[in-house]
Symmetry: C2
Subunit: 330 residues, 2 copies
């Protein structure tokens, strides 16, 4: 146990208290576990609500703010939030223009957001849903039927969030979110397992000197396990997996994401290799983001997400965003 | 070895190539190892140049941009950059208004920046220097005579950078930098050792279940080693160490910093405890920053830095900043 915690039972509540103290621009309901941008509901604006298990920070709470999510619902570590949280979030942020639920494709999240959508609609809130399933590594996995939702979530939340901020109506925000998910693909690699507070030991067995190619963000198995590879070899493997599936015809935005335990120095070096492979494959890169955005607690490793963009999606990506983890423009 | 690298020899160059690709707003000279904001020199503006060993990212390269550093010189991992880099950086950014060197108090950095200052002055560049020595853990340590420079560097670079951006002359920027360092104190805690690429194994021996109280950002020994403590106990120890030394009479800005390997979920939880202790000690908190800013590669752990601010320093802290790692306002 090398964790900076009190007891496993209070990890999420403690983090929310700490988040509230650091970010007065957010309203954090620690007891009910809802993070909301302070000025919500914003008159006439479609609201975006997401959520999922904790342990992937800054996803989703760190993406709440003008230009991105309107609210986030954190569950227990690696555990879906409950419908009650989602309904409360929807009620807190709905201006009458409707709410888009952004749902990563894990069975628990899908079921709970579905139930929440029904309950919210019973309360007179118009709800649309978009499922994020960008991970090309495997189809059907631990916790998932179909593909898993990982790094593509950041693109969906940023780009659809920008459309909502501009005043697009619900069906348009939903359509943009679907388009972004449809043009996003991810592939993750673990150099170590992660340790959940409740378990206190690594969640899966990955001997030193081996890596898991195609790992999920909860340590779910990927495509194969191999002896340690270089940054260059990992980039070849991961980028090829993404590009072969996405088959981009135009420019992409690249997210070179750390799983939590890999230093930024290494992530930047890995980005150099990712850019090299993209260049060799003839894929133009419009924007690049490097850092820890969709993490797996202290897992060492990385993921690559590409989102193919047209002029509109790139403009929405560049639009101002003011959240704890992503902020630019104004 | 769970590192995302090619070979240890190219880690810094690889990272700089990846940084260049991700940040077109910076000019990155990979060969000469200088990171410069693209629009430098800025007419009439005092330039801020810092640098130090790599492995502490985003420090310093991630702090280059409008409102903060004008240039950064990364050395090898945990190794001072050489005077030649610093002179090149100074020459690249000097507008004629002079250059402030921000130097963390490690023997190698201090000597090299001193030599660079002499060389730059020989080239007709006006140079001032500020030494950052905010770490209260120990006096005289591995690599250091006096106190070590750690998290306070972020405050010096941000606040003096804002003054320079506003057009303050060199002696005023230098005076503000000294004032910030004089009002900043830090204390760090390691829950694990870090692993440098060159060594490939932990840099010091910290058995699981023990922590190092007062650790330096290169894993230098601290005040004492103890059996694992809770987040609450660690906050009590670290904040008290800082507050007893700083004796703040007014509000502070709090940096709750991750060493690299500790998840953001845990850092936010730790922040809740830090805020609790500060409340109990009667120290008002004006602003709080939580995240990985001054790291030690993959070390698990955290540090607390407090900077006591008056109205002017707080205004300069809030002033716009546009760097890879720190950005707000406009």
């Amino acid at each position: 146990m090398r964790m900076l915690i009190n007891v496993p039972e209070t990890v999420v509540a403690d983090a929310l208290r700490g988040m509230a103290a650091a970010h007065p621009e957010l309203t954090v309901d620690v007891e009910r576990r809802v993070v909301v941008r302070r000025d919500a509901p914003v008159a006439g604006k479609v609201a975006l609500v997401s959520g999922g298990g904790s342990g992937h920070e800054p996803l989703h709470g760190g993406f709440v703010g003008p230009g991105m999510l309107t609210a986030a619902c954190p569950g227990e570590v690696f555990t879906s939030p409950v419908p009650d949280q989602m309904v409360r979030a929807a009620a807190a942020v709905d201006s009458g223009a409707g709410v888009l639920f952004v749902v990563k494709n894990y069975t628990g999240d899908v079921l709970n957001f579905e139930m929440a959508a029904e309950l919210a609609e019973d309360e007179g809130i118009q709800v649309a849903k978009v499922l994020v399933d960008d991970d090309v590594a495997v189809t059907d996995s631990l916790y998932t039927a179909g593909r898993r939702g990982t790094g593509g979530t950041l693109f969906v939340e940023k780009i659809a969030g920008a459309a909502a901020e501009e005043g697009a109506p619900l069906e348009r925000v939903e359509a943009i979110a679907r388009r972004v998910n449809g043009r996003s693909r991810s592939f993750g690699v673990a150099l170590s397992a992660c340790t959940t507070p409740a378990k206190g030991s690594p969640t899966f067995d990955l001997p030193p000197g081996e890596l898991e190619l195609g790992v999920g963000i909860h340590g779910e198995p990927g495509r194969e396990r191999r002896a340690m590879m270089t940054s260059r070899e990992i980039a070849d493997y991961a980028v090829d997996a993404v590009v072969e599936d996405l088959e981009p015809a135009g420019p992409v935005i690249a997210l070179v994401n750390g799983m939590g335990g890999t230093p930024l120095l290494e992530l930047y070096g890995f980005n150099a290799e990712v850019q090299r492979v993209l260049g060799e494959r003839g894929v133009p890169v419009a924007r690049t983001l490097v850092g820890n955005y969709v993490t797996s607690l202290d897992m060492a490793g990385c993921s690559v997400t590409l989102c193919e963009v047209d002029e509109e999606l790139l403009r929405l990506w560049d639009a101002p965003v003011q959240t704890p983890a992503l902020r630019w423009g104004r």
